[in-house]
Amino acid sequence: MTTTADIEDMIARVGLGDRKAFSALYDATSAKLFGVCLRILNNRAEAEDALQDAFVRIWQKADSYGANGYSPMTWLITLTRNLAIDKVRARKAPTGNIEEMPDIGDSGPTPEAAAVAASERRRIDVCLEELDDGKAGAVRGAYLEGDTYQELADRYDVPLNTMRTWLRRSLQKLKDCLTR
């Protein structure tokens, strides 16, 4: 079982140009990161590209990890997610129709996933529940599907500015709750 400390150690060694550590880090984390790419891109070929790009970035930027106090999986997932979202935005036409996407609000965690960082998990759930109707879904849609303000506004059938005002207010509440 790979622990957080193991992954942290691998990233540190990758930052020194250690290829063996890079290989070990890939083996330990690529399945999770590939899952993230697949979730956002919803297309295998693009997800494979995104995963490769993410690991190239990880190789290049590992020496700067640690400066901002991120936990290792947060750093890896955030970096991967951002690259996958850049790819989604680069598509000329999105392949997935928003209406056809499963209702993300309903997809609960698998038992295995729920066991991971259970206390953190509860905190984000509790905080999202404190938001007004629908706002939690918008936050989740933006994070897990890479929705833009325009896509969120279309989904909730409100003007873009209204969506932005809603979400900005929700984000302030969420931050309060997360660090309470």
């Binding site: 290829r19 290989s23 890939y26 690529s30 399945a31 999770k32 590939f34 899952g35 993230v36 697949l38 995963l51 490769q52 690991f55 190239v56 970035r57 190789w59 290049q60 930027k61 901002n68 106090g69 991120y70 936990s71 999986m73 947060t74 997932i77 955030t78 997610r81 951002n82 979202i85 850049d86 790819k87 935005r89 680069a90 598509r91 000329k92 997809s107 609960g108 965690p109 698998t110 996933a113 729920a114 991971v116 960082a117 953190e120 998990r121 905190r123 984000i124 989740r140 933006a142 994070y143 897990l144 833009t148 979400l167 900005r168 207010r169 984000l171 302030q172 969420l174 931050k175 997360l178």
Partner: protein, 232 residues
């Protein structure tokens, strides 16, 4: 952490929008520039990212195909056993500069085909995309041609305005102009060795400028599209 408490509500919302990747390219860049200076803002962002990342708990891991790791390592480390050209370069690295140049010159005359010699240096690519996809530009650098090839896939400059291309090197505060994009959707831009060195992990951006480009040396118009530079 005390600085985080001083962060005002607008900035907190902004950090959340940044974490969700909801900001327009120009706002995103402006926020990143502030991040490099403001510890309080970095703390707020980290709190958001650490909170949001737990949403990814519900994403089931999926093992990528085996070939992907081989491709990745070939891309990053260019396996010397497999390519004669690269083997040659690493062998040359052991020989001092002048001798190496002589040997290289000899090889260039003798070895056939010469195309087997892969020049050292990485290839880079970036896709610069506007939030609403109204502007999509692909930039690609290949060491053998030493120029940045630009392919504009979508978007044209406003009447009487031009697109100017910028490079923001990793950790750099100010963008450096790479020049005005010509009207032709396919173009090549000459880049110096310093620029090439700064491409790695950098960001390319396109701004809207008056004819001839920014008069100040910094973007004066809206930043329309940005894209991270990827090493190929």
């Amino acid at each position: 952490m005390t600085t985080a408490e001083e962060t005002n509500g607008d900035d907190i919302a902004l950090a959340g929008e940044y974490a969700l990747h909801l900001l327009a390219p120009a706002e995103r860049l402006a926020f990143e520039r502030r991040l490099s200076r403001e510890t309080g803002l970095r703390d707020v962002l980290r709190d958001f990212e650490e909170g949001f990342v737990t949403l990814a708990d519900e994403i089931a891991p999926e093992r990528p195909p085996r070939r992907l790791k081989r491709q990745l390592e070939a891309r990053l480390f260019a396996d010397p056993e497999k390519t004669g050209g690269l083997w040659l370069w690493s062998a040359l690295a052991f020989v001092s500069g002048a001798v190496a140049a002589l040997i290289l010159a000899a090889i260039l005359f003798v070895a056939v085909p010469v195309t087997n010699l892969t020049p050292p240096g990485a290839s880079y690519q970036a896709e610069l995309v506007a939030e609403d996809r109204s502007l999509v530009v692909r930039a690609r650098y290949e060491p053998q041609d030493g120029r940045l090839s630009i392919t504009r896939l979508a978007g044209t400059a406003a009447p009487g305005r031009v697109f100017e291309l910028w490079l923001i090197a990793e950790g750099a505060d100010a963008p450096v102009s790479l020049g005005v994009l010509p009207q032709n959707p396919i173009a090549a831009i000459d880049v110096s060795a310093e620029i090439v060195a700064a491409l790695e992990a950098g960001t390319l951006a396109i701004s809207d400028e008056p004819p001839g480009g920014s008069p100040t040396g910094a973007p004066t118009g809206t930043v329309l599209a940005v894209g991270a530079v990827i090493t190929l």
